[in-house]
């Protein structure tokens, strides 16, 4: 219990310290400058006051939240589709060596292709903004899921496999009772990577020519930097918070669905 409180308290204190330092540095730079003057705006473009950022956020909360929901919504739909396709493909690959042999090389190789770099090009093929964002997010999700789940499906304990064989378990039973549960921790590792990835995918797609969403807002604020750096900061922090919430939600789902994994992860450090 003490440990749990510690692990919450210490980062909170660190964040508070960072906020104080932020406000302090901003004060050193902005102190004495008249608000609204060019010199002030120029200095503010480096680091606006933390409380000004908060004010800017509150003042723009409806439109910022709206954009965030659009982006997160698209990223999440793509994330779900990508995870489903990725899992199905991993199942197929673990069943059929031929499929595995044909596609594995490309799936591993394409992790090295800057898929996001394809986002702008895909605008030429898929014209609809929302469908494109979902596609890119799904695409970025499906690779880590396939690769990790396949490894998970193959990571079963040989004695356990022998035991099921000795029970004359069908192949489906082996999957349902052994392989699929074994793949879950791997799946969640992949989903954590993909949560950030799908969000970035959606934002970058918006950046390249969308009409709504966080990427569009960032772009418009970026070209208006001297006037609006507090707004830009507010928005970027919102992106970070959305990313952390998404990641946190995946972690929470893991805790609920794969409790044994979280169990064994915790005390592992305390073996000594």
């Amino acid at each position: 219990m003490d440990r749990a409180r510690d692990s919450l308290l210490v980062p909170a204190a660190t964040i508070l310290l960072l906020l104080v330092a932020w406000e302090g540095i901003a004060y050193l730079r902005l102190n004495g400058l008249q608000e609204g003057t060019f010199a002030y705006r120029q200095q503010q473009s480096y680091l606006p006051y933390a409380h000004k950022v908060l004010q800017a956020y509150l003042a723009n909360a409806p439109s910022f939240l709206d954009a965030g929901l659009v982006t997160l919504g698209n990223a999440f739909v793509g994330f779900l589709i990508g995870a489903a396709i990725g899992y199905a493909l991993a199942l197929l690959m673990s069943r059929s060596p031929w499929v595995a042999r044909s596609f594995y090389l490309y799936i591993v190789g394409s992790q090295m292709v800057p898929v996001i770099a394809l986002a702008p090009i895909l605008y030429g093929i898929i014209r609809d903004e929302t469908i494109l964002k979902i596609t890119v997010a799904a695409y970025l999700t499906f690779f880590p899921v396939t690769v990790n789940v396949l490894r998970g499906l193959q990571s079963v304990d040989p004695p356990a496999l022998d035991l099921l064989h000795s029970y004359a378990a069908t192949s489906w039973d082996v999957y349902r009772k052994l392989r699929m549960p074994a793949s879950l921790p791997f799946l969640f590792n992949a989903l954590k990577i993909a949560s950030t990835g799908s969000l970035i995918g959606a934002i970058v797609t918006e950046l390249m020519g969308g009409n709504k969403g966080l990427g569009v807002l960032i772009l418009s604020l970026q070209y208006n930097t001297y006037g609006a750096s507090d707004k830009l900061w507010a928005l970027v922090i919102e992106v970070a918070v959305i990313g952390m919430l998404f990641f946190g939600a995946v972690t929470l789902a893991e805790r609920l669905l794969v409790p044994w994994q979280a169990e064994y992860r915790r005390p592992a450090r305390r073996t000594r």
Partner: protein, 269 residues
């Protein structure tokens, strides 16, 4: 990412068998390229070649603007490599400090892990405000992106030492520095290299995406500038970035083979 274990890779097979494992992917790749070139894909998706250039057009674009692609490629590669070096170096250093000072680890490790959850490239516009439109901006973005995974990985490696080996060092009255150098550092190397390999890909992608936002040059800018016009040229950019990412990955794998031969042999590859 770890080696393609299981499915495709098999330890030491004769060449005939290896040919058989390589044949299906090569056939599929070749077939896709052919269908693409023959515009069958275009027919299926109902698109024109100006929307999706065919491979020969892309190849031709390489000869059309070689200078831009060459300069842009080096510009982006420089950002990725410098950013990866800074991020990974600082990450390793931080992990070392975390091992020595546990209090530091407990207060800062959660924050380092949290940065994994943040879409760092979204910070690119702010970094641009600080450092301008040139390479340093992207180097910082890439460094921040690659820093946290390295801290987490390297810390895992530095602490993944055999307790008995630690006891042995202790019984020799070895100073902390010697334990670190002779025991912890070698044991961390496989973890460090796996973080570096993940970072190789991430750094290329990060540099390109950060250039999308605002940049004085580079492949990302080239792609962004040509998405409304010269698609074939934008595809050249994608090909170059992919090739550079693979090259960086390959170079790091090669160094790994030289520096950590024991791990490779243990993996049986």
């Amino acid at each position: 990412m770890a080696a393609p274990e299981g499915a495709a890779a098999a330890p030491r097979r004769p060449w005939g068998a290896r040919g058989r494992t390589l044949l299906p992917p090569l056939l599929i790749g070749g077939a896709v390229l052919l269908l693409w070139q023959a515009q069958v894909i275009h027919g299926l998706l109902q698109i024109q070649t100006y929307q999706l250039p065919i491979p020969s057009q892309i190849l031709e674009s390489f000869t059309r603007r070689p200078r831009d692609l060459w300069i842009g490629g080096w510009y982006t590669l420089g950002e990725a490599v410098a950013g990866l070096a800074c991020g990974a170096g600082l990450g390793l250093l931080t992990a070392g400090l975390f091992v020595q000072f546990d209090g530091l680890r407990r207060s800062l490790m959660p924050l380092a892990a949290a940065t994994n959850a943040i879409p760092i490239v979204a910070f690119a516009p702010i970094v641009t405000l600080w450092l301008g439109f040139d390479q340093p901006s992207r180097i910082v973005v890439v460094a921040v992106m690659t820093f946290a995974p390295m801290v987490v990985s390297a810390y895992k490696g530095l602490t993944a030492v055999d307790n008995q080996a630690l006891d042995l060092m202790y019984s020799y009255a070895a100073p902390a520095a010697a334990t670190f150098r002779k025991l912890r550092l070698p044991s961390s190397l496989p973890y460090v290299f796996s973080a570096l390999k993940v970072g190789a890909t991430a750094s290329m992608i990060g540099a390109v995406v950060a250039e999308f936002f605002n940049s004085a040059g580079g492949i990302g800018k080239l792609i962004a500038n040509n998405i409304r016009g010269d698609f074939a040229l934008a595809w050249c950019g994608v090909v170059i970035v992919t090739a550079m990412g693979l090259g960086l990955y390959g170079a790091i794998s090669l160094v790994e083979r030289l520096v950590v031969p024991w791990d490779i042999s243990r993996r049986g590859r």
